[in-house]
């Protein structure tokens, strides 16, 4: 480890870290927001379930590097525009979470769903205020996977020259110099751990009834 190099490049690394943070966070949130309605549709209409899940699966198999390169052509954006990364990762998150949301809604007890109908809930309100809250633990588990995978996928965009922690890997590779590579891995792990912790915390805070069971 060359601590001097790290010291000299602290400003640069910090700016890459911040860039990395939002490049991974924004698509996770956008992907979740899009997956909620699509997952709900897949859950509610049997015929759409197979179609949406297959589509999501196919989407996920497109290599990220290919997507980063193709998107500017499709969207008319600059190749270095970080928006390409945001859109690509949003699509991956969406692909992962459509199934998670659909299955999470399916995990809610049918008795509770029936009970909501019998109380006079309309379908949308039942979805938002009864079924989705009860699906939070399962959705949260899927979201943790998506968030962590986004942190690692962002670094691939370094090959295009988009500034974020992945730059540490390309730099180290080009200079045959391990310090930036190790620093990059450690920082990526740290970011992933922070995201993971934040999601767990959010799930915990939004599902107080889950713990009420245990300390009865």
């Amino acid at each position: 480890m060359n601590w001097n190099w790290l010291n000299r490049n602290t400003d640069q690394i910090t700016s890459w870290l911040l860039q990395h943070l939002w490049l991974a966070a924004v698509p996770t949130i956008l992907g979740l927001l899009l997956a909620l309605p699509l997952g709900a549709i897949a859950f509610r209409y049997r015929w759409s379930y197979a179609a949406l899940i297959t589509l999501a699966g196919l989407l996920y198999t497109i290599p990220s590097l290919a997507l980063f390169v193709v998107l500017p052509g499709l969207l008319g954006t600059q190749i270095l525009d970080p928006i390409n990364v945001v859109i690509a990762l949003t699509l991956y998150t969406l692909a992962l979470l459509v199934r998670v949301v659909a299955d999470a809604l399916g995990s809610v007890s049918p008795l509770v769903r029936q009970s909501a109908v019998a109380m006079g809930y309309r379908p949308l309100r039942s979805l938002v205020s009864v079924q989705l809250p009860l699906a939070i633990p399962v959705i949260g588990a899927g979201l943790r996977v998506a968030a962590v995978s986004n942190v690692s996928l962002v670094s691939v965009a370094a090959l295009l020259g988009i500034p974020q922690l992945g730059q540490l890997f390309t730099t180290g590779f080009q200079l045959n110099f391990y310090t930036p590579i190790i620093a990059g891995i450690v920082l990526c792990l740290l970011v992933a751990a922070v995201f993971d912790g934040l999601i767990q915390l959010a799930v915990r805070l939004s599902t107080p009834w889950e713990r009420a069971v245990k300390n009865r």
Binding site: S109, L111, V112, Q114, S115, A116, V117, A118, M119, G120, Y121, R122, R125, V130, P133, L134, T207, P208, W209, A212, V213, R216
Partner: protein, 403 residues
């Protein structure tokens, strides 16, 4: 009044769940739909609040066709208690109860404070309001389920096997509680069960459904037991129906005997009642507490003069006949008592006397001879605001065993 007019439900696969059902459910009474599984009783009830739509026929509530009312709006006006309570696990007890008022546009605050009152009404500690359903016992959850159904004060309540998942002791408590609540509220209740005992206990009228969704008999409980409409009903109500029918005969006419008693934790008299004991036979003496409430029986041969009667000496058991008891309870009290003498108690639980099984049977025979064709005749369908005179006597509790 809820009217089913030639209602059928046939599923796409050809299953006929309900077959041409025509029935009028009286306002302010408990009507029980009873039958084996697959007889269409739950389907029928769910058609009332349109959770299931009929294939043909129509359902009217107070003359209004339910299909003319927006379904969610209709449902908010009909209380619903589901199997296993169906509470929302993510909401506190108070918020569960407040569900329908909030859907109807009441402020959460107002609905919550009303919910606290309902908790007491169904016999729960208001402190439970802040708990989540998973923190309650099965019986408590069912009470919350009933409170939730009552929250918007709907004139009609549908109860779909609400007490089937709790143990027999709790079930009996919940049933008594429902009878008490109904006495205060006078709702139009449609209650689904597969348990004929529950149907007989709760129902002002009973609709017996046969497999295939056919209404086999619709009559008062005493009539279903004493005059089953057909072989299916006779078979369904079972072999004990003669004994069950005793539930509808008030025990008021029984003559009670004075019963000598010993007091718990007090010394037995120097020359105990055992003087009269026949050699080799137990000589049972009733033991009461200081309030003269029955605690059990003791075999007086075991007691020597001056000894204290302790809990350890007691043979427990023997059900008790209270002031509003039926012949069934009185007979059971006598049969289950070690002495063969059933203990009758007053409203405060104090011993008023005893009665033997042969005396109960004698009273039943006498009553039977006096009124050979008990109760009015009813057949299958037809009007049923009916409640046999025996049933009302049991419910009203005007007759007293302690006479």
């Amino acid at each position: 009044m809820i009217s089913f007019q030639s209602v059928s439900k046939v599923y796409p696969d050809g299953t006929r769940a309900v077959d041409d059902l025509t029935i009028e459910i009286p306002t302010g009474k408990i009507t029980v739909f009873v039958g084996p599984s697959g007889c269409g009783k739950t389907t029928s009830v769910r058609m009332i609040n349109r959770m299931i739509e009929p294939s043909t026929g129509s359902i009217l509530i107070d003359g209004q066709d339910t299909t003319s009312i927006d379904a969610p709006f209709l449902r908010r006006g009909i209380g619903y208690v589901i199997q296993n309570a169906g509470l929302f696990p993510h909401r506190t007890v108070l918020d569960n109860i407040a569900t329908v008022p909030v859907l109807q546009g009441q402020s959460r605050r107002a609905a919550r404070s009303a919910a606290a009152g309902l908790l007491e009404r169904v016999g729960l500690d208001p402190a439970m309001g802040k708990r989540y359903p998973a923190q309650l016992s099965g019986g408590q959850q069912q009470r919350v389920g009933v409170a939730r159904a009552l929250a918007a004060d709907p004139p009609v309540m549908l109860m779909d096997e609400p007490f089937s998942a709790v143990d027999p002791v709790v079930r009996a408590q919940l049933q008594d509680e429902l009878i008490r609540l109904q006495g205060e509220l006078g709702k139009t209740i449609v209650f689904v069960t597969h348990d004929i005992d529950e149907a007989v206990k709760l129902g002002d009228a009973i609709a017996v459904f046969a497999v295939g969704g056919r209404l086999a008999q619709y009559a008062s409980p005493s009539e279903v037991l004493s005059r089953p409409g057909d072989d299916f009903v006779a078979d369904f109500v079972g072999r004990d129906r003669g004994y069950r029918a005793l539930s509808f005969r008030a025990a008021g006419r029984l003559r009670l005997h004075d019963e000598p008693t010993l007091t718990l934790d007090r010394p037995a008299p120097a020359d105990p009642v055992a003087a009269e004991a026949v050699d080799g036979q137990p000589y049972w003496v009733l033991v009461v507490d200081d309030e003269h409430r029955p605690r059990g029986w003791v075999d007086a041969r075991q007691l020597t003069g001056g000894r204290t009667v302790g809990l350890g000496d007691l043979v427990l058991g023997g059900s008790l006949a209270g002031p509003q008891s039926s012949m069934r309870t009185a007979l059971d009290a006598a049969l289950s008592s070690p002495s063969g003498r059933g203990v009758a108690i007053d409203d405060d639980g104090r011993v008023v006397g005893t009665v033997a099984a042969h005396e109960v049977l004698g009273a039943i025979e006498t009553a039977r001879a006096a009124a050979p064709a008990s109760g009015p005749h009813h057949n299958g369908s037809g009007s049923t605001t009916k409640q046999g005179p025996e049933a009302s006597a049991q419910r009203a509790g005007s007759a007293a065993a302690a006479s």
